[in-house]
């Protein structure tokens, strides 16, 4: 029953009722309602419990400033911690209050109110510190009770992130914003307009004003129609909050209800030439005892409910104000036939125009509200003169208060603009801008309609270099205020809240000051005042006022806390956009990926977004049997793997030789065309950057290969050196990773397989020796055959163009069948390289290891005077610190597997480690577990026994050289 709906008026659609649930009960609202207005229409007054004391709370505001009523949306559009005032009502919506269990009416946490005196500001910091806050944190977080995150991602759509550019970005579609957009649009600029409400109009939606002799909303409709007709006005977004103002005029806009129903929310990153901030102003409350009771509401919010939603927020209202704006609300109440019992004005003198608006409503000037009766709903107020004399009780069910207006300076402040305290408005207004932005209308403290239209037009005219247009005629309003930072009349007892969301009272701020937290930022953190979902939109200035009053300094000297993004809460989905899973960061694949998947390969991520087959399981096999089968094929017959993801760069130019000498530790320039050489790259601080093979294709043409994961890093490294240190060197780097694919056939039968494939290249050991290459044909396809080996077996790396890769692969598998060929995954490759003691970046190489530790001193050229990292390695080794050196380990029990990463300690005792196991595999050649390890002074400790220390056991292992198979390397050279 919408028994509080006014019979006429409002911007709601009375022909479209919407059913919704709130805390388990069924209600009906109307299209155009917010959840808050629908609840008020149904006379639901108790809508929430507070965060700390679990005090009963109602609806306080009408927009994003709402501090009290947070709800959790349930069902398909599940979302946590939404202000009921910004949730657009939808059919079938289900919501429940946060902070209370089982319901706001019967809340178990309400017991906290009994101990309220025991939990002042800083209570948690002082109490829950022994032995550690972390012991108490989970329980307290649960008791605090804000909604949890939804358990699953939304089902019926996705999020999107989009970039846009604008000459002029106008934030807010109230009178100032619309006027600015019109002027900028007419000047032909690209205009982007974003407004946080469901419809354009801003404060005009909530008030009964006229523009050019007609209802103001007619002017709004005409303006929107004109903007829509201009092609250069590229975006007119409603229900879209500008939530961040970043560097170089980049602003974030969260569009919550895009036209495309598949898009849940859209996040815009707008780069604007000029920003016009027409973000309006928020009303702040007054600070008096029990100012948080359900039925105590901001005057402007009540005005919105009456005019916009045709909802009567109460039947008999009392107003409490220190400024003129509340009198306009009184007039609207009277026009709607809602009883106003009295106006309590803290000022001694009330302007005549305000008295006219009040009509016959009694005005108690120079008076304040010193108490509110009723716990779950307002039943009356106690009024007294400012000093405390002459108390009077007035019956009412609604108390509407106004403590003045705060320009919405959040975005201006985020842009690093300065704020200044304005005495006449008793609030902070924008001062000097730091970026190309200007505040207009309420956001600049220009609170009247006339000044909003004027400043909006002026800003746009200036930005576009056009003439000031004629402005539509409106009635001039005046505004005055006498600040009242808190009611301290004698007899005023009870909690006076500064921040309703975080339950911060005047006493809490006084306590913080008393305990030495006298900077406004410290007060905020100690009391939590101004934190949370509303970020203190109604309370912050009152907190500053309370500090100023207590310290006896001007508000300007207290200053504001820093405004940070987001201006209003933004869902993580909107920030992430469509960058979920593989959409924007897709996996890279080779022409053989499909074949691998068809073959049943278990795919691994191999770095740099490559996916490679880990192993090719067969029915009935264990994982180990699969890997063993693939390894045996390579050791005993022939195997093949797809080496395409390895990074490849072609280097051309006269100076490539000396450039490679500079970036590799060993000498490259002496290489002859047709030959390859394994090389190691260091960073300037002497750590291992990458390893790979360089091939000389011709006098001035080389091909450098890198590990899969480090291709981009090496590319950046080479370009940085060439562009910043050696700009005069003649070297051109071209990434060709995707231009060359390769299939590597390896194993003792590899040469027989090559013969079966058919080739015009002489592959005899003399014709194509180890570490050389030749161009020709293989299986009828143009190919470069390279003799390198990562497995320790005879290998031919067949490099072909990607368009030939799949063909080549299938011909290899076909020709290899008689030899029992197996495709080899990265698991088997790992076993094969461990058996040979070949290093793997990320296993044996971390941020401490150098080439000498790996037994590779031979690769650190002594002939070269200089190369990247040389000096640093020498410097570090001169310290004679104990080094961890690469060794092989044979577990004493051949069936003992040592977990990778296991620490080695002397005797397996509980004491500092002397190394760690970097890899441990089942060797198919030795038929036992073998491991590689980094061990202190390992090079000189061969044949010692060391111990891996596990949680519940130790494993003894014998130290040996880090090679378990063919130590002379005869097989790969064969």
């Amino acid at each position: 029953m919408q028994n509080r709906r006014l019979p006429s008026g409002g911007g709601i659609d009375r022909g479209r009722p919407l059913a919704f649930r709130f805390n388990g009960k069924e209600y009906t609202g109307l299209s155009g309602d917010t959840l808050a207005s629908a609840l008020l229409a149904n006379n639901v007054r108790l809508t929430a419990r507070s965060f700390k004391y679990h005090r009963p709370r109602g609806i306080v505001g009408s927009g994003p400033e709402e501090p009290a009523t947070l709800v959790e949306l349930e069902g398909r559009r599940a979302s946590a911690n939404q202000a009921a005032t910004t949730v657009r009502l939808a059919d079938g919506m289900s919501a429940r209050s946060v902070n209370c269990w089982p319901s706001p009416g019967l809340d178990m946490g309400a017991v906290n109110q009994l101990f309220a005196g025991l939990i002042p500001a800083g209570f948690y910091y002082k109490t829950f510190k022994w032995p550690s806050w972390h012991l108490y944190e989970p329980m307290i977080r649960k008791a605090a009770g804000l909604a949890g995150a939804p358990e699953a991602p939304p089902l019926d759509g996705h999020f999107e992130a989009v970039h846009a550019h604008a000459d002029v970005l106008v934030v807010g579609a109230g009178p100032a914003g619309l006027m600015a957009a019109l002027v900028a649009g007419r000047a032909g600029c690209r205009v982007f307009l974003a407004d946080e409400r469901a419809e354009a109009g801003g404060s005009l939606l909530d008030r009964r004003l006229e523009i050019a002799g007609k209802p103001a909303l007619d002017w709004v409709a005409d303006s929107v129609a004109e903007l829509k007709s201009m092609p250069n006005v590229t975006h007119l977004l409603q229900d879209a909050s500008v939530w961040a103002y970043r560097e170089h005029n980049c602003l974030m806009v969260n569009e919550r209800s895009p036209a495309n129903s598949n898009v849940l929310e859209r996040n815009w990153r707008v780069r604007a030439g000029q920003v016009i901030l027409a973000t309006g102003a928020f009303e702040r409350g007054l600070v008096f005892p029990e100012n948080d009771r359900p039925g105590v509401m901001l005057a402007s919010a009540a005005q919105a409910y009456v005019n916009r939603f045709a909802v009567m927020p109460g039947e008999r209202a009392v107003f409490f104000a220190n400024n003129d704006s509340a009198y306009g609300v009184v007039a609207d109440f009277r026009a709607s036939g809602i009883e106003v019992a009295a106006i309590v004005d803290s000022r001694d003198v009330v302007p005549d125009f305000a008295r006219k608006l009040a009509g016959d409503v009694p005005i108690r000037a120079g008076s304040v509200v010193i108490g509110v009766r009723g716990k779950r709903a307002v039943r009356g107020v106690t009024v007294a003169e400012r000093g405390g004399h002459g108390t009077e009780k007035i019956y009412c069910d609604l108390l509407l208060h106004s403590g003045g207006w705060n320009p919405t300076v959040h975005l201006f402040s985020q842009s690093r603009g300065n704020l200044r305290y304005d005495e006449s408005l008793a609030t902070f207004v924008p001062d000097e801008a730091a970026q190309a932005c200007v505040s207009v209308g309420g956001a600049a403290g220009k609170l009247s309609l006339a000044s909003a239209l004027r400043t909006g037009a002026e800003a746009a005219a200036k930005a576009t270099g056009t003439e000031m247009p004629n402005l539509p005629a409106v009635v001039e309003e005046s505004y005055s205020i006498a600040p009242l930072w808190q009611v301290d009349a004698r007899g005023a007892k009870g909690k006076a809240f500064l921040d309703i969301q975080n339950d911060v009272t005047v006493d809490d701020v006084h306590l913080a000051l008393l305990e030495g937290y006298d900077n406004v930022e410290h007060v905020k953190r100690y009391t939590t005042g101004g934190m949370g979902f509303d970020q203190g939109k109604t309370g912050n200035i009152n907190i500053i006022g309370a500090i100023a009053l207590q310290k006896g300094v001007p508000l300007q000297d207290v200053g504001t806390t820093t405004f940070r993004p987001p201006y209003t809460p933004v869902s993580f989905g909107a920030i992430g956009g469509i960058r979920e899973e593989n959409v924007v960061l897709p996996y890279r694949h080779t022409p053989v990926t499909r074949w691998n998947l068809d073959r049943g390969a278990f795919m691994y991520e191999a770095g740099a977004r490559w996916r490679r087959p880990g192993y090719f399981p067969r029915d009935g096999e264990t994982f180990q049997e699969t890997v063993n089968r693939e390894c045996r094929a390579v050791r005993e017959g022939v195997g093949v793997y797809d080496g395409s993801p390895l990074g490849k760069f072609e280097l051309k130019g006269r100076d490539v030789g000396r450039f490679l000498d500079h970036i590799y530790t060993n000498l490259m320039s002496t290489l002859k065309a047709g030959q390859c050489r394994y090389g190691l790259m260091l960073t300037e601080d002497g750590l291992i950057l990458d390893d790979g093979v360089a091939m000389r294709l011709g006098e001035h043409r080389w091909l450098v290969s890198t590990s899969t994961a480090h291709a981009d890093t090496v590319h950046g490294h080479m370009e940085e050196l060439l562009q910043t240190q050696f700009p005069e060197w003649n070297v051109y780097v071209t990434p060709v990773t995707s231009q060359w694919n390769n299939a590597t056939v390896c194993g003792p039968k590899a040469r027989e397989l090559m013969a079966a494939l058919g080739t015009d290249i002489d592959l005899s050991p003399k014709g194509l020796p180890f570490m050389s290459f030749a161009d020709g044909h293989v299986a009828g396809l143009p190919a470069r055959v390279v003799r390198v080996s990562f497995t320790g077996e005879l290998s031919f790396e067949l490099n072909v163009a990607p368009r030939h890769m799949r063909d080549l692969w299938e011909r290899i598998m076909e020709a290899g069948e008689p030899f029992g060929i197996e495709p080899v995954g990265s698991e088997a490759s790992h076993v094969l390289r461990v058996e040979k003691g070949f290093l793997s970046l990320g296993h044996e190489v971390d941020g401490t290891v150098d080439a000498h530790d790996l037994g590779m001193s031979w690769i650190m050229s002594k002939k070269k005077r200089d190369y990247v990292g040389k000096r640093s390695v020498e410097l570090r080794r001169r310290g004679n610190a104990i080094r961890r050196e690469l060794v092989g380990l044979l577990p004493v029990d051949p069936n003992d597997q040592i977990p990778e990463g296991a620490p080695l300690t002397p005797g397996g005792e509980r004491c500092p480690t002397e190394g760690l196991v970097t890899a441990c595999v089942w060797s198919v050649v030795l038929d036992r577990w073998v491991a590689l390890a980094l061990l202190e002074n390992g090079l000189s400790r061969h044949s010692e026994t060391v111990h891996a220390r596990l949680k519940n056991a130790t494993i003894a292992a014998d130290v040996m050289e880090p090679v378990f198979h063919d130590p002379e390397g005869l097989r790969m050279r064969s």
Binding site: H163, R246, E247, H248, C250, R269, R271, R416, A434, E684, D685, D712, G716, E719, E720, Q723, T724, Q725, R865, D866, K870, R871, S872, L875
Partner: protein, 85 residues
């Protein structure tokens, strides 16, 4: 997100670039430098409260390594130390 001027592509979003760090002094000849000076070169990075010269790689663009002056207080990209506020 900053707007970074690339000498070839014009002003582009920061997300197209990879940060290359503040510009260090020229690499000294490692064979004619004391240990102290070498360590100083390696490990001491300019970190002023104000304009700093730094390198960015237009990795997701033209590939240029470029040098700009950025004011660390404001993210303003300035001509040089004298151009800052």
């Amino acid at each position: 997100m900053m707007l970074i001027p690339c000498p070839f592509c014009g002003h582009r979003n920061e997300s197209e670039f990879t940060y290359g760090g503040p510009v260090k002094p020229d690499r000294p000849d490692p064979n004619a430098t004391s240990d102290e000076d070498w360590v100083e070169y390696l490990t001491t990075v300019p970190n002023p409260f104000g304009p700093v010269q730094e390198r960015w790689w237009h990795a997701r663009g033209c590939g240029t390594w470029l040098t700009i002056w950025r004011d660390t207080r404001t993210h303003d990209i300035v001509e040089g130390p004298s151009d800052a506020e």
